[in-house]
Symmetry: C2
Subunit: 367 residues, 2 copies
Amino acid sequence: MTTRRSFIQKFAAPLLAVPFVNTATECKAADSQDKILRVAIMGLGGYGNRVAEAMKDSKRAKLVGVISGTPSKIKDWQSRFNIQEKNCYNYENFDNIKNNPDIDAVYVITPNALHKDQTIRVARAGKHVICEKPMATNAKDAQEMVDACNKAGVKLLIGYRMHFEPKTLEIIRQRNAGDMGKILFFQGLSGFRIGDPRQWRLNKELAGGGAMMDIGIYSVNGARYMVGEDPIWVTAQETKTDPVKFKEGVDETITFQFGFPGGAIASCLSTYSQNNLDKFFLNGEKGFGELWPATGYGPIKGRTNKGELDHPHVTHQTVQMDEMAAIILDNKKPVVPVDGVEGLKDMKIVDAIYEAVKTGKRVALKL
Amino acid sequence: MTTRRSFIQKFAAPLLAVPFVNTATECKAADSQDKILRVAIMGLGGYGNRVAEAMKDSKRAKLVGVISGTPSKIKDWQSRFNIQEKNCYNYENFDNIKNNPDIDAVYVITPNALHKDQTIRVARAGKHVICEKPMATNAKDAQEMVDACNKAGVKLLIGYRMHFEPKTLEIIRQRNAGDMGKILFFQGLSGFRIGDPRQWRLNKELAGGGAMMDIGIYSVNGARYMVGEDPIWVTAQETKTDPVKFKEGVDETITFQFGFPGGAIASCLSTYSQNNLDKFFLNGEKGFGELWPATGYGPIKGRTNKGELDHPHVTHQTVQMDEMAAIILDNKKPVVPVDGVEGLKDMKIVDAIYEAVKTGKRVALKL
């Protein structure tokens, strides 16, 4: 069986530090360069492990703490990442992190349905939050998270690693420079064939949905950063070939379409039953951009009407953590936002997609 | 402005005779090889001209007659293609073709809305009909055409040149051999930016619709020959950015989706406002096939999960006419049908797409 992990590992590159071509460079005060974001990871699963390994090469972010319900995992991580006992928490006591001056931010990498309460608790503990996507299982919860972080005066960032990926940014740069003319169409095909039927991603209570929450979200978010606008309407159609594996409320396959204020449209696919996807195609009056694979761990492959993109591969999570450290510590503005409001917009769209599936009607969006 | 002709000429190859790798070869009686299909072309416009040029290299089909309402065009064609006076007709007198023993078939290459009456008249004159696609402007008319040809005992073929294209056939061969496993998804993006607003393709009375009739039909038909099944439902969404150019009943852009009996789905785009499209993508459990360009005049470019397809380019219309001669004269069965019922199925789907656009609902199909 192909698990999500084995799927994405197909694209995973060796965790080497590769110089990052920062297309979003802004002036930074020299002193801020010295500041390091000290991070605790909450949820020590497969993706948490990947982020932790990638952070070894980060110049601006350092893994200093862990939060887990499994003592043996904490022990393992302590030895592997040299984490002090005083920076280890479980899900009962992690509110005490507010008394820990050695932790600046918590990266929440737990099942989707847990993000809301955990993010709010971290915010109340006065720490910045980086939350894996989808940030919640619906827009209402996402709004509460944004509000809680605002109230607590902490930053909330969502784990949008593609917003820092060089080939993606190059296509956005060409689009913004007008090289593609008016943008007319985006196509996003996001999916993989999911394995183990017992995993939390197929449990409505923990995942909040199915493929849309886990992998369709890449096309939802990708449509926005590739077109450079927020959609104003959505239509969507669901198909299910395996109702045993994909139970009530767990979507297997959804096709969905967006309309944008400038007249562009998007046509996307979200599925848990196909490999060979992960394709983005952006079409404008004067040119196009293609990414395939578009959102895997890399290497990303891309081309435009001008030819192949040859930017070197970077470890997405390393760059993401460097950039997020700069956003949190230096107030750096990324080319494509990664804040809680960005995540909230995606959740509003996902809500609308599910509504469009249910009603069969075009759903208007105001983001 | 980009016209349809200049668009497709981007892909047009020199009209050279290239050996055709016939993947649909069947045993033929030696004597039938000697028979030649003697063809008259009705409608001496841009595409008629292309077919006539391509027929110069056909081993089995020969242009011997013309039907046109423009005497100067007839004169021009007579000299260019060495056509006898007795084989020249206009739209008033072409029923007399029934008394002409030197013409076997008429290739109808006129505006869509004229196909029905012209096809029925040719059938009544006892000649085989090759009709350009779309064969009509709706399924009712298409059915009448099929019925009339059956009644007259003549063959009715639709100008589906891609059904004979080597790279397309190779993907179909791999699919049929099981190399791609169960077929799960087809994506077809068909469109170009249409130029002159006064052309008949933008006139509802002559075209029967807009982009869907002219270029979307490639994704409609392509979905069927790529998946290898007929769809059982359709949903569709229309967008229009230029209601002056694309008047009531003339569709600019439609996204549409199909469901197939085996569980596969299709997600397609039909548009008159974008270039850089003409992309087909077929995805199965074990492999994929991609064509880009998929339906232009060539060269077609294709690849599967096994690598690039390197079949030599053929002039589609030359191969089509050779193969259609064999179908008509030798009762050859093509890998993908090109008969009137095949065209009728596409018209039923187009009807359903327009209905789905109008009602916003999923429309069930029985083909």
